[in-house]
């Protein structure tokens, strides 16, 4: 995500096109996903460890590249790019109250919401989606049915990483217009929390994401109003709730059974 944000930022900065920046963010994320898939599905390094390693590598690389590309900038002269304008959907955005909330968001926000039913359809209503989920539960059975396990793992990992890159691109190109190392501040981990919170169902991701976003916004406005409540409490809440959700959902958990277990043919 951090790398995606930087790629988007740098490309937009040099080409002046926000959409090219978004594309670059996705490509950067996807490339990292390719490395991740290679490490976990081909070399079969422990996936947790591989993920952590790539995380550290990507954050270091982003920071290094930022310093290299924007060498000579000082803290008073921070490079920035213009951000996406809020689109105004004719007529609908003029509806009082509702128009502001529902029809004046970034195009990418609509895309994000649209992606939820799309992913749901893909995972639950297509043969490929079923195979993908099966690989997560029982790769051995899939292998016997002639489904290529590494193939599905590559596709899933690269898709996920591309989306994460897009998310990073959105942050820098639609909200801040800046890039700095702390830009992402753990949002990749929150995504993990949302998946657990939503118990692995695509439809629940929306509610989880909205809820976590709501807490973040509430915290900001409470600070602005000056309410006597430690804002850190609200910031910490998503993380505490994730742990609670993990404990509560344990009996109904839909966690893929073979999550993070490397699959080697003929070995159990």
């Amino acid at each position: 995500m951090t790398l995606g944000a930087l790629a988007g930022f740098a490309v937009t900065g040099s080409t002046g096109s926000l959409w090219l920046g978004i594309l670059a963010a996705m490509i950067a994320g996807g490339l990292l996903g390719l490395v991740m898939a290679f490490m976990s599905a081909t070399v079969k390094v422990d996936q947790v460890v591989a993920g952590l390693a790539l995380n550290l590598f990507a954050i270091g690389l982003s920071f290094f590249l930022f310093r290299t590309i924007f060498a000579g900038t000082t803290s008073t002269d921070i490079p920035s790019v213009g951000v996406f304008e809020f689109p105004e959907i004719p007529l609908l955005s003029d509806i009082p109250w509702i128009g502001d909330i529902f029809f004046s968001q970034h195009w990418l926000t609509y895309l994000a919401i649209l992606s939820i039913p799309l992913v749901w359809l893909f995972l639950n209503k297509t043969k490929y989606g079923l195979e993908l989920r099966s690989v997560g539960h029982n790769p051995e059975a899939c292998d016997m049915r002639g489904i290529s396990v590494p193939n599905r793992q590559y596709v899933a990992t690269i898709f996920g990483a591309t989306m994460a890159g897009l998310a990073g691109g959105f942050l820098t190109l639609a909200t801040t217009g800046l890039w700095f190392p702390e830009l992402i501040s753990g949002r990749g981990w929150i995504a993990l929390a949302i998946v657990i919170f939503g118990n692995w169902r695509a439809s629940w991701i929306l509610w989880g994401a909205l809820f976590f976003g709501f807490l973040d916004a509430l915290q900001l406005s409470l600070q602005a109003v000056g309410v006597e409540l430690p804002y850190q409490l609200l910031l910490a809440l998503p993380f505490v709730l994730t742990i609670v959700a993990l404990v509560i959902n344990r009996s109904r958990s839909r966690t893929p059974l073979s999550l993070a277990v490397p699959y080697r043919r003929g070995e159990r």
């Binding site: 390094v45 947790v48 390693a53 550290l56 590598f57 290299t68 850190q232």
Partner: protein, 381 residues
């Protein structure tokens, strides 16, 4: 209907002449699993991984416009060029030895404690709190001992939350420890913004702790403090614990085969809690060592990801205390040398994070690859 004609046996060319037998014919090569990996071979692969990582990073240096030779020379000079810089490398290595050991202990039991960062802060808070409360009224040795104890307890307590949840509810410890990392930072941020904030400053920091509770200098005229010695002692203790005690046997047994460990009568749940507590205690000491040895007050930036770097170090050190110490000193030297490199050659010091990440990635791949060998086999075999 005609019967299919079967060609006479001698009409079929023998396999060897059908496929030209070449040294490079890939079908003649087999990837096999090695039965055992000698430590010499393992060592060669480790060195190779580091060399490749440095070579790949050299490409980045070229991209940044600096000279590779000069940059690496400055890196080495900044790390070990003089007595003073060598000692400073040890200063940088100190927290990493602790957090590396913390990760190694947990990973030996195949418990993924990613919470070293949070436990670091818990230990720092525990150590500072005790030092601040009694630093003026107790003799130096006593206050140091109890703040070490408090830090270990605080780190252990924070880690035990995840350990208990795993033992009792089988929750994934990776996620709980990561979440707890965030939670403790928000707790600290709250304390530093309110109850613990130093009255004479607008910054998020506490008052300086009484001088009696500082970790004394290990070597005068440097920043090297007794935390370094404490870290080395911890490494020895960790070695003895893991390989010379029944508990260590159980911990390693849990990591190798949980089923077998259960049949052997090892309490899996109990061991999980103990491992997490031990791991957290060591990570907590890292926090105390940094605060009492260097900063002397609590701030939000006392850790630059030491908990996470500790994970890399544990893995590069092959989860062995000696390996951890060596890897930590290597990384400490990188961090120390990077500052000098940035000043003299203008290569961004963030390069070392890339090197660290690359070293880990390549070491991980090497660790798998070293277990296999490629052998040429005869076509008929």
């Amino acid at each position: 209907m005609t019967a299919p004609t079967i060609p006479p046996a001698d009409a079929i060319p023998p396999p060897s002449s059908r496929t030209p037998k070449s040294r490079w014919d890939i079908s003649n090569w087999r990837v096999e699993k090695r039965l055992s990996v000698g430590w010499v071979r393992e060592g060669i692969f480790l060195v190779l991984a580091v060399v490749i990582a440095l070579a790949l990073s050299a490409l980045l240096i070229v991209a940044s416009g600096a000279s590779v030779g000069e940059a690496y020379k400055a890196l080495a000079e900044g790390a070990f060029g003089s007595r003073r810089s060598t000692l400073e490398s040890f200063v940088q290595a100190t927290p990493l030895i602790f957090t590396g050991l913390a990760a190694a202990i947990a990973f030996r039991a195949r418990i993924w404690n990613i919470g070293g960062e949070g436990q670091f802060f818990a230990g720092a808070m525990g150590g500072w709190w005790v030092a601040n409360a009694w630093g003026d009224s107790l003799p130096q040795l006593v206050i140091l001992l109890i703040s070490v104890l408090a830090a270990a307890l605080a780190g252990a307590a924070w880690a035990t939350i995840a350990g208990f949840l795993k033992a009792k509810f089988d929750t994934n410890e990776i996620i709980t420890t990561v979440m707890l990392n965030f939670v403790i930072l928000f707790i600290l941020s709250y304390l530093l913004g309110g109850p613990w904030r130093s009255p004479d400053t607008f910054y998020f920091q506490t008052v300086r702790m009484p001088e009696a509770s500082w970790l004394p200098k290990f070597i005068e005229e440097s920043r090297l403090h007794w935390g370094f010695a404490l870290a080395l002692i911890c490494a020895v203790v960790a070695y003895v614990l893991l390989w010379k005690t029944p508990l260590g046997f159980e911990i390693r047994g849990l990591g190798i085969n949980q089923q077998a460990a259960k049949f052997k009568g090892i309490s899996v749940a109990g061991t999980i809690v103990i491992v997490m507590a031990l791991s957290g205690a060591v990570a907590g000491l890292a926090g105390m060592s940094e605060v009492a040895g260097l900063h002397h007050r609590l701030q939000l930036d006392i850790s630059i990801g030491y908990g996470f770097t500790g994970i890399i170090i544990a893995l590069i050190g092959r989860l062995h205390p000696l390996g951890v110490v060596i890897a930590a000193i290597f990384f400490g030297a990188l961090v120390n040398g990077a500052t000098f490199m940035q000043i003299t050659t203008g290569t961004p010091s963030a390069l070392i994070e890339v090197i660290q990440g690359l070293v880990l990635i390549l070491v991980l791949i090497a660790a798998v690859v070293v277990r296999y060998r490629i052998r040429r086999v005869h076509a008929d075999g």
